[in-house]
């Protein structure tokens, strides 16, 4: 198991009790490792934030398509009728 994988297993609580104890002990004396854990945790947050940003862009683009393309005209009509809007 490489260090990045070890940190991941530690952060995701997937280590055995023995390995977790060993890791906790290393963390007490190893500043660099503590920092790596912090940055790696931020990495997961960043990846999730990027994923959500891309998902939002995709949904926004789809919404634009639905409110402009011919193939969605019946759906659009149904929605515009709800809000009393002209096509």
């Amino acid at each position: 198991m490489n260090e990045t994988q070890l940190i991941e297993n530690y952060l995701f609580d997937r280590l055995s009790p023995e390995d977790k104890l060993l890791m906790d002990a290393r963390l007490l004396v190893n500043n660099e490792l503590r920092e790596k854990i912090l940055w790696q945790n931020q990495s997961y947050q960043l990846v999730n934030q990027h994923g959500r940003k891309k998902l939002r862009e995709e949904i926004e683009a789809l919404s634009t398509k639905i409110f402009s393309e011919q193939k969605f005209s019946s759906l659009r009509k149904k929605i515009f009728q709800i809000f009393n809007k002209d096509l």
């Binding site: 934030q49 990027h50 994923g51 959500r52 998902l55 789809l62």
Partner: protein, 177 residues
Amino acid sequence: MIAEQTKLTTREDLFIHLYESAFPKVAGWMHQRGGTLEEAKDIFQDALVIYYEKKTGSGFSPDTGDVQYVNGIARHLWYKKFSENKNQTSLNPHTQLKVVEEEPTISENLLKFVEASGKKCLELLTSFYYDHMNMKDLALKFGFSGERSATAQKYKCLEKVRTAIREKSLNKEDFYE
């Protein structure tokens, strides 16, 4: 329910299905409560994000069906929006994000820096950690010979992002919004 049982192959197919089956109901419900079309669109988009994250993250499959579930999320967001700020007429981007997640956000600068410096890696990591794609599909999508090499690359990419964050975060004000 028949449409829901049909295999929807892409994410876009799934969202189109939900727009067609759930959005008119959501829009009608919001219109009755004084909501505008723009508000209904915004809330529905937020509901799709929550639905997607819940479904991919936990393999969650709602008993009531996907359409009913998205409908329920949208109504919940509507009530939440008006109980949080009764005077506000439209959602701003920060309100939208708060509704979905309360965690601190990485700054846009840092995100853009990593997006620019390691696009391919970020795509790979997103497919795994955000979209919860399995290793077999990940290997196929990114052209690896097998799951082992995809796993190895995933950790290399994670290390790369971690190093980029470390470098960038030396400038603290650049870190959180």
